[in-house]
């Protein structure tokens, strides 16, 4: 399942790709953790990267398509996880209307809190989510994330929306979230989940 691609930059881990389905999310987390540590992320940021990848991977196989693909690579000075499926998500309300009707739109919101940037590219062939974690922060301790104030989303060309997750402080975007809101999925979708309809 896990496979190495072409060699990366000197001293950096090779790109790593794997296919996964809903019963392979644990493997996704373990592969991501190993790879991100080799890429040079400190332990706390490895954890955050793993959380982000896991939540997006779960959304991909839950709302996108039964099987999806993960590609891990270093681009520039960042670790990048690309999660690609052949479905179409997120649509406003999609997650709240999931199989158990209860999950809310929390996975994407959590990914945004956990990693530096989330970019969603949607098209007729499926949905791709890029999760970036800067390696320039490697010397810093793991950030305490979640901030009520955060950077505005950057709308990229086409159908993508990018949300730099900066200006984080303890207390969190979700700190006022009541547990029943979380459970009932009644919380509005964050701006990161809005995107233009595919052309």
């Amino acid at each position: 399942m896990e496979s190495a691609g072409r060699a990366g930059e000197a001293g950096l881990p090779w790109p790593c790709g794997m296919r996964f389905s809903a019963d392979g999310l644990g493997q996704v987390r373990r592969v991501t953790a190993r790879w991100a540590a080799r890429a040079g992320l400190p332990a706390g940021r490895v954890d955050d990267f793993v959380i982000a990848v896991s939540e997006i991977a779960a959304n991909a196989v839950r709302y996108g398509s039964p099987a999806a693909r993960l590609l891990l690579q270093v681009t520039g000075r960042a670790t990048v996880a690309e999660v690609r499926d052949s479905g179409c998500w997120p649509r406003p309300g999609t997650e709240a209307a999931s199989a158990d009707g209860r999950s809310g739109g929390m996975g994407l919101a959590l990914a945004r809190l956990a990693c530096d940037e989330v970019e969603i590219r949607a098209g007729t062939g499926g949905t791709t989510v890029l999760l970036r974690m800067s390696l320039l922060d490697a010397a810093r301790p793991a950030r305490i994330c979640a901030g009520r104030a955060r950077a505005p989303c950057v709308r990229l060309p086409g159908a993508a929306v990018s949300c730099p997750a900066t200006d984080r402080t303890e207390g969190g975007v979700l700190s006022g979230l009541e547990a029943d809101e979380l459970a009932a999925g009644s919380r509005p979708l964050p701006c990161c989940q809005r995107r233009k309809a595919p052309p």
Partner: protein, 134 residues
Amino acid sequence: MISAGLGTRDYSGHVVVTLRGELDAAGAAALMAVITAAMARNPRIIADLAALEYIDCCALGVLGRVRAQARQAGGDLLLAAPHGLVQRILTLTGLTGVFSIHASVNEAARATGYSCPQQDAKVTAGEPAPGTGR
């Protein structure tokens, strides 16, 4: 999915639900069923997370619903011994300010100030005696 299952036991007037392994959407329904059954007996619930390595948003939602239902029934759902990625997810989401979180099952039970000696150490699902956390 839940890689190693769930267990329940009675402890000091509470029902302790032990979550183990990795818990994501595939295991959320089983978690809901186990906790709902436990809550029917006693709405004072402690979720023992000492052996839980991961929990995703869907399963967190189950805990949130159970907490709301338990409180409506006059009880509560407390979390005991979260660590690692589970603790980090609770922090990231701000749910550390929503749930009552304790270092161990024992501390959670003490924090409620409620005990029912007749039920102490009654094991209902082949569980060992209550531990002190992770």
